[in-house]
């Protein structure tokens, strides 16, 4: 009948947003005791190439589905990468995957970091006069990894790039081989740990301690931050204190997500639907929201 609202009439018959593509695990890299990185390639149903900062919904047969950020963009030859820590029923199973296993994949979903990629231009029209400061805490390094790879390949378009990484301890440092490679490719990567061991020769403390050296010209700085919310609050407050404009600071938010497509309601942060309007948002969109407990 003709009664479907005008909002729906302009579309044809949509395919189900709940139908995943079958994806095969190409390889697994054990990163930490409880964290792995695996590659995925969809079997017959090609998905759009993800942009840095986006996420996929990964479904483990009969167990459940979780949003996992894209840690490697993949392209024709290379699989899309995801880094997962075992913290629950679904992620436990994801960490047990072996090459050749199949899971379900929906996505990519969400917004992306403002960095130039091969296929899309950044929200920042011209970044050649800006220094990029990437700040990651713990597993927050995963969604920033595509940004760092672009920077290491000199494809980012920024004037200078600094990567600041905070980890709980040296043994909890993600992508340590990658960090060595990024440094050897000329990237300025600094690592700080909360708790050191006898092997550690770097700085100790919270990641904000690394900021003063990286932010030399606040009004020519662009920052991308991902980590626990409390860490992002501290880092952003410090950056704003230095004089970095809030609209040149991006954070990646984490909320409960069931759909990834804006129709399940779980990931609301007041006016934001994080899976749709985020996960990457500008600080000026969320600065006040991050200060309200339980919002």
């Amino acid at each position: 009948m003709s009664t479907a609202g005008a909002d729906m009439d302009r579309r044809g018959s949509p395919s189900s947003p709940w139908l995943p593509a079958s994806a095969t695990v190409t390889h697994v890299v054990r990163e930490l005791a409880d964290t792995v990185t695996f590659g995925l390639r969809t079997v017959a149903d090609p998905r759009p190439a993800p942009r840095p900062g986006q996420f996929n919904m990964l479904w483990v047969y009969g167990v459940g589905e979780v949003p996992i950020s894209v840690a490697g963009l993949g392209d024709g030859e290379l699989p899309v990468l995801h880094t997962v820590r075992a913290v629950g029923a679904v992620t436990d199973r994801l960490c047990e995957l072996e090459a050749g296993d199949q899971i379900g994949l929906r996505g990519p979903f969400g917004s992306s970091w403002s960095i130039r990629t091969g296929t899309a231009s950044a929200r920042v029209a011209d970044s050649s006069h800006l220094d990029l400061v990437v700040v990651a805490g713990g597993l927050g390094l995963a969604p920033l990894r595509p940004v760092i790879e672009l920077a290491a390949a000199r494809q980012d378009g920024f004037r200078r790039v600094s990567v600041l990484v905070g980890a709980r301890s040296p043994s909890q440092l993600l992508y340590s081989a990658g960090i060595d490679r990024w440094r050897s490719e000329g990237l300025d990567v600094r690592v700080i740990v909360d708790t050191a061991d006898s092997s550690w020769k770097g700085p100790i403390g919270v990641v904000t301690r690394l900021l003063p050296d990286a932010v030399t010209e606040p009004d020519h700085t662009f920052a991308m931050i991902c980590g626990p919310e409390v860490m992002m609050r501290l880092v952003t407050a410090e950056l704003v204190g230095f004089g970095v404009p809030a609209n040149r600071i991006e954070v990646s938010l984490e909320r409960n997500m069931v759909c990834g497509t804006g129709i399940c309601g779980h990931c609301q942060l007041r006016e934001l639907i994080v899976c749709r309007d985020g996960p990457v948002v500008r600080l000026d969109q969320v600065e006040s929201l991050l200060r309200v407990p339980e919002l």
């Binding site: 009948m1 003709s2 009664t3 479907a4 609202g5 005008a6 909002d7 729906m8 579309r11 018959s13 949509p14 395919s15 189900s16 947003p17 709940w18 139908l19 995943p20 079958s22 079997v43 479904w59 047969y61 009969g62 167990v63 459940g64 589905e65 913290v87 629950g88 050749g100 296993d101 199949q102 899971i103 379900g104 984490e254 909320r255 409960n256 069931v258 759909c259 497509t261 804006g262 129709i263 399940c264 309601g265 779980h266 609301q268 007041r270 006016e271 639907i273 749709r276 309200v292 407990p293 339980e294 919002l295």
Partner: protein, 408 residues
């Protein structure tokens, strides 16, 4: 579609229902179930709660068959009406003998379009370990929703936007909506809990309102249990024409409008959504959240009866006989602790914060997210709240109390 409204009596209504059935529609409309008026499957006019009235107040609902003095039928009307009872009455202006003398049914038609549980994925693992997945055909055939109240009509328009208007529309919802025929009956007997004039979603249906695009036919009851019938869609026009209704006299049309206008004037409560918005956005720690959230039991009743609440979670099933897996989408509520769960704990641990989330979403942020208000003023969250929390009082407190943020 016919420009001239028709006039239908109860017999004509029955023929209307028959015509819908002939066109392969399953009928859903107000019926009396377990002592309440609620939307449900039905076949004929005899099953409609004609002459029933309801009383709704915060935390209170009662429905009864009104046996009051009949509203005089015009000459030649000749329709049976309930016997006179001088003590009959519901206390808020119900016209005795009215066929549709009740307000919003206990729940909305939401569950017929956005079912409480629905399988959205079937999967089987083959011998090689490959996973084969498919989505089932959406359940439910062609549905005719009859006797939809204007608030519920607006709620359907809102859910169309949420579930069908985004970048990734829900295909099952869209399929059900496209196969749906909607007959609205305008309201003349608002309950104490009704406030659709504040949300501009009733008590009538304005043909200029975008939400009216959801309706095929709009009925307005006039004296003698007769109805002015307006067609708002081509399908509605064709159906009305097939019934051969006599044209409604201009007097009847004016009478119908006057009755609906009067119903709007009966609604004593009004809330100022613009001012609520300003306060909610400026003062997230407003003490009203404490005062009202304190009373909330987090029972989820309000989200279940709300005609616009759409939130869902997914439940996984594995069949032990063949190892096949299904996922079903099931209604969830932002009042549950698990709703905002993240590794390490839930974002909204206190009931108060969940109440703030729900009311903020309804009254304010829905507009930012979907470009429509999230509340249609049906009052069900007030009626069915076991603590009798009144969202209108919340709105009033938000706008009247000086937020602690600006106190010296």
């Amino acid at each position: 579609m016919p420009v001239v409204p028709g006039l239908a009596d109860i017999d004509a209504l029955d023929r209307l229902l028959g015509a819908l059935r002939e066109r392969d529609y399953d009928l859903v409309g107000p019926t009396v179930v377990d002592g309440v008026i609620d939307y449900g499957p039905f076949d004929s006019v005899a099953q409609l709660p004609l002459g029933w009235v309801d009383e709704q107040r915060p935390g209170r609902y009662e429905a009864s068959l009104q046996v009051g003095p009949a509203e005089p039928a015009p000459a030649g009307g000749g329709l049976p009406v309930p016997r006179a009872d001088p003590d009959g009455g519901r206390g808020h202006g119900s016209m005795p003998g009215r066929a549709f003398g009740f307000a919003a049914p206990a729940t909305s038609p939401k569950r017929f379009l956005h079912p409480p549980a629905e399988v959205v994925l079937r999967a089987i693992r083959t011998a090689t370990g490959a996973i084969e997945m498919s989505t089932p055909e959406p359940a439910g055939g062609r549905l005719a929703l009859f006797g939809v109240r204007p608030c519920d009509l607006h709620a359907i328009a809102i859910q169309d936007r949420v579930l069908g208007g985004g970048e990734h529309p829900d295909d099952a919802y869209v399929a059900r909506r496209k196969a749906c025929f909607v007959v609205v009956v305008e309201c003349q007997d608002p309950a104490q809990t009704c406030f659709c004039t504040s949300t501009e979603s009733g008590p009538g249906v304005d043909g200029d309102d975008p939400a009216s695009a959801v309706a095929d036919l709009v009925l307005t009851e006039v004296a003698g249990r007769r109805f002015v019938v307006r067609a708002l869609s081509r399908a509605g026009g064709e159906l009305a024409e097939s019934l051969g209704l006599p044209p409604a006299e201009p007097d009847a049309v004016m009478d119908a409008r006057a009755r609906v206008t009067a119903a709007g004037e009966q609604m004593a409560h009004s809330i100022d959504l613009t001012r609520v918005r300003e306060t909610v956005l400026a003062a997230p720690s407003h003490q009203a959240w404490e005062a009202f959230g304190e009373r909330c039991l987090a029972c989820t009743n309000c989200t279940l009866v709300c005609p616009t609440c759409f939130c869902v979670s997914m439940t996984e099933h594995v069949d032990m006989t063949d190892g096949s897996a299904t996922r079903s989408r099931e209604w969830d509520s932002c009042f549950s602790l698990s709703f905002s769960y993240l590794h390490g704990g839930s974002v909204r641990t206190s009931t108060r914060s969940r109440y703030r989330q729900w009311a903020t979403h309804k009254l304010v942020t829905w507009l930012d997210q979907f470009g429509t208000p999230g509340c249609v003023g049906c009052g069900r969250c007030i009626t069915w709240c076991p603590a009798g929390i009144d969202i209108r009082e919340l709105a009033e407190s938000l706008t009247r109390w000086i937020p602690r943020e600006v106190k010296p």
